[in-house]
């Protein structure tokens, strides 16, 4: 029988999962739930990528302060993604620009992509989940 420490190499297929985040971070549970399932997929060593578009770009905006709404500011957790080997973070260009934001406003390094590039990336996926 394998020792417990020999058991952490996971077998099974690795699939390409894309998580599309389109909503503001607070007010609904979608952003936090998406982040949780991203971490779970990453813990199971899947090929994970994230897209932030529409109001979803606010999820990774710097200097969030949730004191007045009494919920936890979970934005620091996006910075943990690198440690989970989740490094494919895409932001849709028009969504970013139309909100007056640039990559300097974001807490994590991202790749800014045009809509048609995004469509190509989506073509490559096996699973796409929209939040």
């Amino acid at each position: 029988m394998a020792e417990p420490w020999e058991d952490d190499e996971l077998d099974g297929p690795v699939r390409k999962f894309m998580y599309v985040n389109r909503r503001a971070p607070y007010g609904t549970i979608y952003a936090l739930e998406s982040l949780e399932v991203v971490l779970i997929a990453a813990a199971f060593e899947q090929d994970v990528s994230l897209v932030f578009m529409d109001d979803g770009v606010y999820q990774i905006k710097k200097e969030q302060n949730t004191d007045a709404i009494g919920v936890k500011n979970f934005s620091p957790t996006y910075r943990a993604l690198e440690g989970y080997d989740v490094e494919k973070l895409y932001v849709e260009k028009e969504s970013l620009e139309s909100r007056g934001l640039t990559i300097d406003d974001l807490i994590v390094p991202v790749q800014v992509v045009e809509k048609d590039q995004l469509a190509e990336l989506m073509e490559e996926q096996e699973v796409i989940l929209s939040f």
């Binding site: 420490w5 952490d8 936890k72 957790t77 440690g83």
Partner: protein, 110 residues
């Protein structure tokens, strides 16, 4: 059942994780470990303190693979491996060490 620490009664969930992580103090780890029949050593405290800092920075408890890698980066390769961490925390390094550290159960842990 709540645990008694320094005359205070601290709420825990059904698996023994602290309900309110702000109530954590080092004595919590010592008492939880003693209930598991373990006396904490310097090596345990290294991991517990690491987890406290990790949570402070990222607001989550890391998955075991992430913990192992991060420990290796910070404390060296002889400590950043599963065998070493399982010897310290036989119930599973992420699960057990997070519990002693007052953190929630790691995301993705079943």
């Amino acid at each position: 059942m709540p645990i008694e620490v320094n005359g205070k009664s601290l709420e825990v969930d059904e698996e023994g994780y602290l309900a309110n992580l702000n109530e954590w103090e080092p004595e919590v780890a010592t008492i939880m470990a003693r209930e598991d029949g373990t006396e904490l050593t310097e090596n345990h405290w290294e991991v517990i303190n690491f987890l406290r800092e990790y949570y402070e920075e990222y607001q989550i408890a890391p998955a075991v693979r992430v913990l192992t890698k991060a420990i290796g980066k910070k404390l060296g390769k002889d400590k950043g491996n599963s065998k070493y961490l399982y010897e310290l925390f036989p119930y599973g390094p992420a699960k057990q060490a997070c519990k002693y550290s007052g953190l929630p159960k790691p995301t993705g842990c079943v």
